[in-house]
């Protein structure tokens, strides 16, 4: 099945079969997918129970109910956040990056053994995290943002370090492979999917330095008892150096599917390839100088720095609007080609009955809602009304839990069958899953937003809170109803993927077409990675050095080492 072609000198080119995976690819991509969706299985099954226990109506009706296995609310919430938002997404991104890079470039990875080292690292990280969450629920309940002075057992941080190490290996592998390809194909531009992946992995490498320093220099030593003091404000700054790029790290792989696979799946070409590249580069260079918008309410960051990051935050909204146009125009062409007429008629003729296409379309609808609430959060002063309320989880379940998770699930609906060599167990079940997810997240996002506007805090077992007003209780009960719909959706997903892996009866008949070359003309400047990564680093330094300096300083003056000796004790 695997034919190695001799072309372009002795470049290790592969002709991939359309409906099957070659051996190395099956093992590597398959291992990532199965591990990622196992993490999601645990994480996402917890979500609905959190929604139930946050609802006063539920607690009143079932005072003795407990969350299965994870009985302590904040332990479950930590598991939900880390497993869904970190382990599922990161491991999926690595597997999908390997798949798309190999296929688009028709080439072997730079280093397959290294890719396996990365995978094993992430797997061990996942096991370490599960172990510490289950064996030490009280101390490990520091949530997926692990702000000190709450300090978890060392294994918690070790699990995260192993996960990020795996991501770095993936990043290096994808970037080097793309470079080798460019040397073998002088003058050609990378296919869009790989172009986007390279931008995304560069962004990850630069941004994860912040959280790596935080974990390795501040948290792990405190957890091991090597230091007894810490600086909570500095920690928050270092975390959000990473935290905003993180959301694009999740988003870009979904965009890769929507920009490069969805056009083929709907039978058209992407409206504008060069503008897609501009959008990906903008996401990369503006992802970092924006992170302070998560710190609008922090006492240790000045208004000047908050204003600078607000400015870049508005800029980084532009690539999302560019995406709206580019994808909108692409889908319009697709709808019209399928006979859709009139101003909106083209929408109706898209393949709403195909789970893979529907997952992406519904993901886009959720993203419009989430993007809207995001713009509100990003508007510095409006942020005061919603910061740390349920509004925020309402927003990010329509973004990371919406377009991101749903598009990844849509990808799994064709990729898992290819891994197994068998067609998806049930297309109908997949469709039902996609629609319940969409409906559930719309309702969840709305009810959470409303409860947030009524003062409900996020990250809280509000089902037993004494301070809720009637409207707050109403909307929290509504979120629990959304939880029921989403629980059904998660169960449908797991049954379908599980049954497909056990072995559905029919062979695979469907797989997306993957572009292996860029359209003719890509402006040369877009291929100059040195320039773009340079701009990324420069903007990062300009935007973050003052914030870090401020966090380190005391008001009497700039005393860089004061934070340790006069820091805050670790309880």
């Amino acid at each position: 099945m695997q034919a190695t072609l001799e072309k372009a000198g002795n470049a290790p080119a592969i002709a991939f079969p359309k409906l099957a995976l070659v051996k190395d690819e099956r093992a590597l991509v398959g291992a990532h997918m199965i591990t990622a969706f196992s993490a999601l299985a645990i994480g996402a099954l917890l979500g609905p129970f959190q929604a139930f226990h946050r609802a006063p109506g539920f607690v009143e009706a079932f005072p003795d109910a407990a969350i299965p296995v994870f009985s302590y609310y904040y332990q479950a919430l930590t598991a939900h956040g880390t497993l869904n938002a970190l382990f599922f997404t990161f491991i999926f991104i690595s597997g999908f990056s390997y798949f798309m890079t190999g296929r688009s470039l028709q080439r072997k990875l730079w280093s397959l053994p290294l890719a396996w080292v990365g995978f094993v690292s992430m797997l061990l990280g996942l096991l370490a995290m599960l172990y510490v969450l289950l064996t030490d629920p009280q101390r490990s309940a520091v949530l997926y943002t692990f702000y000190p002075p709450l300090i978890a057992p060392p294994l918690f941080y070790i699990g995260l370090v192993l996960l990020v190490l795996g991501c770095w290996i993936t990043a290096a592998n994808v970037i080097v492979t793309a470079n080798l390809w460019r040397k073998e194909h002088k003058g050609e531009a990378l296919p869009l999917a790989v172009f986007a992946a390279v931008a995304n992995h560069w962004m990850f490498i630069v941004s994860s330095v912040g959280v790596a320093v935080e974990v390795v220099a501040l948290l792990l030593p405190a957890s091991l008892g090597l230091i007894t003091r810490t600086d909570p404000q500095l920690s928050r700054v270092l975390f959000w150096f990473f935290g905003h790029p993180l959301v694009y790290y999740w988003l870009v792989p979904a965009y890769i599917s929507i920009y490069t696979l969805l056009p083929n799946q709907t039978g058209v070409k992407l409206f504008s390839d060069p503008l897609a590249r501009v959008a990906f580069l903008m996401l990369m260079i503006f992802a970092l100088p924006t992170g302070v918008h998560h710190l609008f309410a922090d006492p240790g960051v000045s208004e000047v720095n908050k204003a600078i990051h607000t400015f870049f935050t508005l800029l980084v909204a532009i690539p999302s609007f560019m995406t709206a146009f580019n994808i909108g125009a692409t889908l319009e062409a697709a709808g019209r080609a399928r006979g859709g007429r009139g101003l909106f008629g083209w929408m109706a003729t898209l393949q709403w009955n195909d789970p893979v296409v529907a997952a992406q379309l519904i993901g886009l609808i959720l993203f419009m809602m989430g993007g809207f609430s995001g713009l509100i959060q990003a508007s510095a002063q409006l942020n005061i009304t919603v910061h740390n309320t349920s509004w925020v989880p309402g927003h990010f379940h329509q973004t990371v839990g919406g377009i991101v998770a749903l598009t990844y699930i849509g990808i799994a609906y064709w990729l898992v069958p290819m891994i197994r060599g068998r067609a998806l167990f049930s297309k109908k079940m997949a469709l039902a899953q996609v629609y319940t997810w969409g409906l559930g997240m719309m309702l969840f996002g709305h009810t959470m937003a409303e409860s947030g506007l009524n003062g409900v805090p996020r990250r809280s077992l509000t089902g037993i809170s004494p301070f809720l007003n009637e409207a707050a209780k109403f909307w929290l009960n509504g979120a629990a109803v959304a939880g029921v719909i989403l629980l059904i959706s998660v169960i449908l997903l797991l049954i379908n993927l599980g049954a497909t892996l056990i072995g559905a009866p029919r062979p695979v008949t469907d797989a997306p077409t993957i572009d292996t070359r860029a359209p003719e003309r890509v402006p040369a400047i877009l291929n100059r990675w040195g320039v773009w990564v340079g701009i990324l680093v420069a903007l990062t330094l300009i935007a973050w050095l003052p914030v870090i300096a401020e966090a380190l300083s005391v008001t009497e003056g700039f005393q860089i080492l004061r934070w340790l000796p006069s820091g805050v004790p670790v309880p």
Binding site: L150, P232, G455, P457, S460, T462, E550
Partner: protein, 164 residues
Amino acid sequence: MHINRYERAWLTAVAVTLGVFAAAMLVGLLAFGIRLPSPVARVDPNNLANTPFAKPGLKSLGGARYELYATAKMWQFDAGREAGPLGVPPQIRIPARSEVTFYVTSLDVNHGFYIEDHSINLEVVPGQIARATVTFMQPGEYKIICNHYCGAGHQVMYGTVIVE
């Protein structure tokens, strides 16, 4: 690079919209004085003896202006004894139409300081002083809610502002 006519129009509209957002924020800041928290000073959470946090509570600054020093710790706010005994959610009484500047710090982990229906929503970070000014117009009871996760009792950490 070729840019489609409609896309050009769309991008212009986007730029204008974002410009309006930026302008609205500037107006909010300059004309309405809506401010974000910014650094006040650092304190040592273990050693508040020589700071106003040693004796939390409401202080009149004359006229309708007040300042309130409060501390947060797992899982209660302390707004001084006039607001009730320690360990019971504090009740802070404030005359209507007064302007109160809140100063809050934490004795242990991160907390939040949010008051229903008023523009105050602070991260209370140990080692830092969080500050915000609010005017209370309407008489009524408004909950102060800790909205930053602070451990097992986070869901019951609150207080009340009674505007009378």
